[in-house]
Amino acid sequence: MNHNSTAKKAVGLALTLGAVGVGALLTARARATKPSPDDAPDYTGRHASGEMDVEGCTVTIGKPRQELYDHWRDFQNLPKFMENLLEVRPVEGQDKANWRIRAPAGHMVDVVTEVAEDRKSEVIAWRSVEGSEIETTGRVTFTDAPGSRGTRVSLIIGYKPPAGAMGRIFAKAFRREPQIQSRHDLKRFKMLMETGEIATSARTKDQTRKAKMEEEA
């Protein structure tokens, strides 16, 4: 693993789930800053609020809440649909997990996460433990969709561009900006849960994104 500071910054960008201790702020801040509050999710606000970017994305998945929750709650499943997450291993003797994350230019970094909130079939939130190399948090909620449409799954992330405007430009260049990455991850989760596989238009095995990313690494 590369521990130089450039790699650390890069790693921050590589995350689906950026930022520090956003937790409850994820829902509270934008509401407070909308002069005329409405029912739209806060992250759809037209005006930036505070120093943190809050990003969210919702998909409807034609499966029951519990099945989706159970799959997500087993964090070892996350690398199946989170492209930059290479591996999740439980930390022995603690209620924590070690996430190995892919960073640009073939770098990797390990982050220890803990569950910040957990309500069966409703919500899972997680954050990196104090003193982690990089800090991350995320929250996924599961609510019943109308009628027989299954479940609405929302993934909300807080994100602070690690190196200001330059950091964001850098991130975009790698197409790993958290907003894009989290939307992609969530849609891949939908594909996996509904169809049992993740769509690829590759014609041969070594043309798949996975093969190409491994080749890059």
Partner: protein, 407 residues
């Protein structure tokens, strides 16, 4: 394997490329026996649809023999199948309500970003139809990878020939859906713009659905002749004033339903079309919407507008006033092929529908580039081209449409 690849504006070539492999569990690999060039492939050929990259394999009308299956496929080796051109998972919200061409799960996630900003939603995956529709390798090749092979492919009985069933993959259901969207009643007069394959099948379907009168509009004499043989009255837009003719032929009421089977590359010298053609040439994303404008004006008040023709971008001078003030109903979209295949296969088996009248040429896959050139340049005689991977280079066989012409 050998495959027809796109290289640039009006430049397609047959090249040797890597064979497809099973990647996902529900995949199957087909050995292609027949594949057709679609009118919508000409939009790719002309470069008016973005997101096609050099080397991309085209072709979304194909059938063949199953030679390999993934563990999640329900197909068996040796089965002979036709494959719908849209790729559908069968399990998302849209697939469960039979809106297969709106499947949410077939366009790979990272490709969805190419069309979502333009349309508000991403396109569904389509074989061989640009990276906007997923970037899937098409079927104008010796082999093809078919995702979700437990959902799309339909096994065809041995006693039906390839020519009889190949068009179940696209143009037959597309013509049928277009007529269905026209909501045809027994007293209705229906006008169809474009006597290409989809227009002709729309004419045939509209007649099968019991329309009192079907009027076909084109400028190619042979294509109009085919429409006439199906039972349509014909209007040649080079000879007649279309709007006036349609008003007269529908007793001054206007036609009850209009079907635009032309789409974004309309021919003709009307002022609006020339302006659109210039805009399309300089690549500012404009569709040549002349036919659609005319169809909306021709449609009677409270009538139906059905649009199977492909549009991709934006059109200006769109008659929003006529659309609203005349209380028109619009139905459009890529065809939900999966919804129609079995029903239409039965009609073919019973002899109620014949699709072979359309075929003008059988060519070896190796001569596919020639097929494109002629289908593009000689639309009157080259009504439908079928490519066969097995045929020897330089051999060509006439189809029924050509015989009609010579007779």
């Amino acid at each position: 394997m050998r495959a027809l690849t796109w290289q640039g504006h009006q430049d397609v070539r047959v090249e040797t490329v890597d064979d497809p492999e099973i990647i996902n569990p529900r995949d199957a690999i087909l050995k292609i026996t027949s594949t057709a060039i679609c009118g919508s492939d000409l939009h790719l050929y002309d470069g008016v649809i973005p997101g096609v990259l050099p080397g991309d394999i085209l072709g979304h009308e194909f059938m063949g023999e199953v030679v390999e299956t993934g563990p999640g496929s329900t197909l068996q080796k040796g089965q002979r199948v036709i494959v719908p051109f849209p790729i559908a998972c069968g399990q998302c919200f849209h697939c469960t309500i039979e809106q297969f061409s709106c499947c949410e799960n077939s366009n790979p996630v990272e490709k969805q970003d190419l069309t979502a900003p333009l349309y508000g939603h991403p396109l569904t995956g389509i074989f061989g139809y640009s990276h906007l529709a997923g970037g899937y390798s098409g079927g104008q090749a010796e082999y093809v990878r078919v995702p979700f092979s437990d959902v799309g492919p339909v096994v065809v009985p041995d006693h039906l020939t390839d020519d009889q069933v190949l068009f179940l993959t696209d143009i037959l259901p597309t013509g049928w859906q277009a007529a269905e969207y026209a909501e045809i009643g027994p007293d209705d007069t229906v006008a169809v713009w474009g006597c290409g394959p989809v227009g002709l099948f729309a004419v045939q379907s509209a007649i099968a659905m019991g329309a009192a009168k079907v009027i076909a509009i084109d400028h190619y004499p042979h294509r109009l002749e085919l429409a006439k043989k199906l039972g349509a009255e014909i209007v040649n837009f080079r000879e007649s004033n279309v709007l006036q003719a349609l008003m007269e032929m529908s007793g001054g009421l206007g036609v009850d339903a209009v079907i635009d089977a032309v789409g974004m590359e309309a021919h003709g010298f009307a002022a609006d079309n020339l302006a659109d053609a210039v805009k399309q040439k300089v690549g500012i994303g404009a569709d040549r919407a002349h036919v659609l404008r005319q169809a909306i004006l021709a449609c009677r008040k409270g009538g139906r507008v059905s649009i199977p023709g492909v549009y991709g971008g934006l059109a200006d001078k769109f008659p929003t006033g006529a659309l609203m003030e005349k209380a028109l109903k619009v139905r459009t979209g890529q065809t939900h092929v999966h919804k129609y295949t079995k029903m239409l296969l039965e009609k073919i088996e019973k002899g109620e529908l014949d699709t072979t009248f359309l075929i003008s040429h059988h060519l070896p896959l190796e001569d596919a580039a020639e097929g494109y050139r002629n289908f593009h340049d000689k639309q009157d005689e080259w009504t439908k081209v079928i490519l066969r991977p097995g045929m020897e280079r330089g051999t060509a066989r006439a189809g029924q449409a050509q015989e009609t012409q010579q007779a």
